[in-house]
Symmetry: C2
């Protein structure tokens, strides 16, 4: 499977995003359901036409945002009930409802509605969530009405290897077009993330896309790719940009730092993005110090390009059988590389 | 003189701005002096290189922002003393200092440091400010060291026609490469703006650029061009965008309005800008309702394109001797046109 990266595209135009090398866009079912509502997206002719993005799109199930953003939520076998933070109305989200919304939105890849337990959680709590995720997947598959949309299942199991195995085996029996590893990066130490990914990825079919949700840093990407992961989504590049941080060759720089104020070199002289080809570190530092929106936009363009460029170089290295040697820095334990 | 428009470019990349048809960019001396400081801009090789804009740039004198943004300001014959809203330090701005800063910034057109009286103001207050503006211009001319930068004088005189005449005649004696009409749009009724422009513009040399500062709406632009004005700057297109308002064929639409939520037509089907060529009113409405930065950016692209397109059509009409007939709607009194 080719290495792909889903980009969080806040502030960028589709044109700017395309130029970063991003192949696929992730759209949030939860946010789109609340505003503008899936009926309006369907009225526009689906998500691609609504947002002006002709490339592939993936929608998440909405479940993760319910857990992370909503108060007053009640979880039971049927689904989740919560209050909209927008207008306070009560919303009931179930596997059937999530798939119906995603069918209406019209993305190319849609995600099963799962239960993502927090970290830390007891083995029993995680076991209950994992079993429920399997039962919910059954309901998702039954509801799914658009065969041209690829429905991916999501492996849960927290930090418990045996539960990950149970979950992966249950999911495989559905013969889905793709599989995701969920329930990572929910607060657990980075070593545990690597361990989960290492254990879980080989349990999923090699000939289907394997998608690691909500990851990552350069290190996490390299480790996960080494384990066999094909697809990622992550808010890091744009979130860092919003805080004035640049990703440069895997390092994080705070551009508001005084040392950049009079640095008239490109952000990354090796980078081909619009930001690096057009502006200096000093100018970016000035925009960020002035809290000019343009600063965040330019930084997002660079950070996404940097992260996608990293995966492109890995892809080339894999093709040339040079991955583990060329990227050894990212594949060795953090204590050794100093990262 | 060709009709030109200075664009306020907040949130846009130079690339996006160029595509709107904008010919020239206005940069604020006041803001640049406070952050990053003119020394850093000079270190970058001047404003053009610093901000990645190869077209012409104009800097204002900094005086207007001192009046509108600073507290604790003291005005005397020497200049203005005020506290920086950024760090509280005391800053002294004089004609000499303003020109020195602008010489360092390196714009193509620089503006004289003037005193802009508020509205309403007594005839005596305005007369004092107008005379002082002339004395300050003398000091600006004496200080100016960069002959490749065109120094424009600024006519003051408030709403008093005889003071406008006195000011214009005093300025003409300097034989400057261009002249601006200042002290308009400071709170006076729109009829008075039109009257001031009508009276003042013919007092300035026809063979030099005549620049009306801080204007305007479609109507104000058309009226001023009819009076002989060549150059404008205005925050209206981007300020409207920040508030979710679109300029469409001279009208203002609030895109958050419910009627746009399911309107899947382009914002302006006649407009060639990226926004109108790529997105629908429904999508823009969605972005603005979601307070997505992208919504403001896309609206700014359109609004600037719309206003510049308006001046381009006027220019073509002037060349074809069709201006007063074709733009009669904008040249008749507001009570008749209903605008």
């Amino acid at each position: 499977m080719p290495v792909g990266t889903l980009a969080n595209v806040k502030t960028l135009t589709p044109e700017q995003l395309r130029a970063t090398g991003a192949q696929m866009v992730l759209a949030n079912t939860y946010h789109l359901h609340l505003q503008p509502g899936e009926a309006i997206v369907a009225g526009a002719g689906g998500l691609h036409r609504f947002m002006g993005w002709s490339g592939p799109i993936l929608t998440d199930s909405g479940g993760f945002q319910v857990f992370s953003l909503s108060s007053m939520r009640v979880l039971d076998e049927e689904g989740v009930t919560f209050r909209s933070p927008r207008d306070g109305r009560t919303i009931h989200l179930t596997p059937e409802k999530s798939i119906a919304i995603q069918n209406t939105l019209g993305a190319d890849v849609i995600m099963a509605f799962d239960e993502c337990p927090p970290y830390p959680a007891t083995r029993e709590q995680v076991a209950i969530a994992t079993d429920r995720t399997t039962r919910w997947l059954e309901r998702c598959v039954q509801t799914h009405r658009q065969p041209e949309q690829a429905l991916f299942g999501i492996v849960q199991g927290g930090v418990y290897s045996d539960l990950r195995r149970t979950s992966a085996e249950a999911l495989r029996s559905f013969g889905l077009p793709g599989y995701a590893i969920g329930g990572v990066s929910v607060g657990e130490p980075v070593e545990l993330i690597e361990q989960i990914v290492k254990v879980t990825t080989p349990l999923l079919p090699k000939d289907k896309p394997r998608y690691l949700m909500g990851i990552g840093t350069h290190r996490e990407l390299a480790q996960a790719i080494a384990a066999g992961v094909d697809l990622f989504d992550c808010v890091i590049p744009t979130r860092l940009a919003r805080h004035g941080n640049a990703l440069v060759q895997g390092e994080r720089w705070n551009l508001k730092n005084a040392r950049f104020q009079q640095d008239f070199t490109p952000l990354d002289p090796l980078c081909a993005c619009y930001t690096c080809q057009t502006f200096t570190r000093a100018y970016l530092s000035h925009l960020l110090r002035s809290q000019e929106q343009l600063g965040y936009t330019l930084l997002a363009i660079h950070n996404i390009t940097e992260l996608i460029g990293f995966t492109q170089r890995i892809r080339a290295a894999i093709m040339g059988d040079r991955f583990t040697t060329e990227f050894a820095r990212w594949l060795t334990p953090p204590s050794v590389s100093g990262k």
